[in-house]
């Protein structure tokens, strides 16, 4: 397979079964011990945007519900020894789902997703409030910024020469700017092997995009891995559909707000819990940023909505 051929010609030494396609988070032992069901809710909370009740037990989930695995790096060795995995150079190897019940990840079977731990009793999550209480408006994610460590030194000139979608101006910025069409994103790739991926509209898209960039780098002959993938920032926006008296808001919420019309037309609201920055505009549009998780954006909006509503009648 061409995949293997590329790898074998590269000068660096690394395991030929590049586990690049498998997601390999560097997990602390603690995380592994606690088991994935505690970490699971973080990812599953992404499903609340569609008021999906499939998180309730006894409802079968298909693969698409499963998110990056929580198991440790032992998985790295699995492809070598375990012959049960369909070895297909085109396939991303699903190593994740099994981690649910087997923290040490000995069963890398893609179909093991049926095991779904009971979530509701385990962790406190942002609940899906009934429409009568909540605003009924769901912020839409606009941008996700994530970072990943490819864990190998990169020759940026070489990458810029061999890749079509790369630009590199060392005098302007010390990184290669690479773009892919699907998911439509941009990546900054540094010579240390660290990479920043921006422009995705969801966490999963960001991860898929980051994997594609890593794959491009790999195909260019570098022993790229996929370590420490982390969402660094999430930006969402929505519209409350009524105009807001920003001058009034800055008076009543002085300790959180900064409204300087000389500088910026919007009001900058620094919410403490969750730690999110909101940009509130007179038109009623709200931008929320600074989140590491989707639930923070939803929670922040539900917190600000009653405050904003209070200013609607006053106008």
């Amino acid at each position: 397979s061409s995949f293997k051929d590329d790898i074998s010609t590269s000068p660096q030494l690394f395991t030929p079964m590049s586990p690049y396609d498998a997601y390999l988070p560097i997990q602390t032992a603690e995380d592994v011990l606690l088991g994935s069901q505690f970490n699971q809710p973080k990812e599953l909370s992404t499903d609340f945007s569609s008021v999906d009740l499939s998180f309730l037990p006894d409802i079968t989930q298909d693969n698409k519900e499963q998110n990056p695995p929580e198991d440790g790096h032992e998985m790295q060795k699995e492809p070598d020894g375990d012959g049960s995995i369909p070895r297909n150079e085109d396939s991303g190897i699903f190593m994740d789902e099994s981690s649910l019940s087997y923290p040490d990840g000995t069963q890398p079977s893609p179909e093991a997703s049926g095991v779904c731990p009971p979530l509701t009793p385990m962790t406190p999550m942002t609940p899906v409030t009934p429409a009568s209480e909540s605003s009924g408006i769901v912020p839409q994610l606009q941008n996700i910024v994530s970072t990943v460590n490819l864990a190998c030194k990169l020759d940026l000139k070489n990458i810029a020469l061999h890749a079509r979608n790369a630009e590199y101006n060392p005098k302007r910025f010390a990184a290669v700017i690479m773009r892919i069409r699907e998911p439509r994103t941009t990546a900054l790739i540094f010579s240390s092997g660290k990479m920043v991926c921006t422009g995705a509209k969801s966490e999963e898209q960001s991860r898929l995009a980051a994997r594609k960039y890593a794959r491009v780098v790999q195909k260019l002959g570098f022993p790229a891995k996929f370590l420490d993938f982390k969402i660094q920032n999430m930006v969402g926006s929505c519209d409350v559909r009524f105009p807001i008296r920003l001058e009034g808001l800055v008076l009543t919420h002085q300790q959180f707000s900064s409204y300087e019309p000389e500088l910026f037309p919007g009001l900058i609201y620094r919410m403490v819990k969750p730690r999110i920055v909101l940009l509130i505009f007179v038109s009623g549009k709200v931008v929320l940023t600074g989140a590491k998780e989707r639930s923070e954006i939803y929670e922040a909006f539900e917190n600000i909505y009653p405050i904003l509503k209070g200013f609607k009648k006053a106008s």
Partner: protein
Amino acid sequence: MAAPGRCPECGSEALVEDSHYAQQQLVCAACGCVLAEGLLTTTYTDEEHLREVAYSQSTGQREQQSRCLQRGIRRVQDLCKVLQLPTVFEETAVSYFRRALQHPSFHLVSLEKKELLGGCCVFVTCRQHNWPLTMGTICSLLYAKQELFASVYLSLQKELGLCVPALSLADLVNTHLSSFRLFQHASDVPAWFMEDKEKLVARTMQIVELASETWLVTGRHPVPIVTAAAFLSWQSLQPAARLTCTFARFCKLAGVDLPPPAHLRLKELLEILLRMASQLAWLRVFSLDKKTVVKHIGDLLQHRIFLLKNAFCLEDGEEQRDAAPAEGSPGSAPAAEAAARAEGCPSEGKRQREGGPRPLLPPCLINPRKRLRTAAPSASDSAITGDEPISDSEIEEYLRGPEEIRAFRKAKAWV
């Protein structure tokens, strides 16, 4: 520093001031007892003239401060003097500056930024005392770029956790109008240009309040609004002579800058006034345009509460916005709904008919700019798990073939 009249040892009154080397001493001529060495307060002879000597000058305090801090403090003090601020402002600003400079995020910034930091401290102090100082003024005094000032100001506010109250428009009107050369007779200013300051200030204030009620002020830079309001009120006080004078000429004669957004603010103000005029019974017979409505600004302002209520549908506008579906491009949806409504309510503010009222909304909602609509995430998008297989063919699309590399290399060699 009264010298004692008698020697404590021998009681003699023969006290002599003598210098022992360079040091002044008060010595008893009889027994030689030294009563006092040096002056008790300072070594400055100014003391004898009863001029207060600052603590910083008499002690080693100044040497304990870094030169950068000293220079910065001097700069802050100079700024306060130029702006003719009360002394208490100076002390507050200097204390902020000291605190800020000790903060790790400001300790090592460039000198340019440190100077801006001083200006920011003065600005914050003024705002906290409701002294209407605009950023534009400080920036011009410091010869600073506004973006840089803005970033330093925001980080100062964040790091020191300062609460800066909003700029008071009323005070700003007062200060801004004071800089207009309309109130004193000058050689190059014609007589019809002169205006009574109090009248002008009062009317400008009313127009600015009107603008604030009709959503023209929120989110906008305050100075252009005040300038436009000043122009309108100046014109309306003597319309016969002044209607022919353009905005630009007015600002030039008054010796004031005409900021670019002021033209738009003027247009918006006139639109509001025209709508109000349409509700005033004795004005309906005239077909007013944006020139002639100026003559009636006095009346319009007098009855503004009534006119605003009738000229703009406040409640209706909000209700229909509630009913609008909460998705898609919000700007056009309510406008479309408004158009669909009966009673000939004009959908866009552009059409200045004397027909039904239009909703009282900020201009950005009345005239929404055509914006690229970001598609809501499709079903296929939300089905992405992040772990999908990545086909080699897709990745290879992004890689150059060998001929292409050769061609690219050649092309680069020419660059």
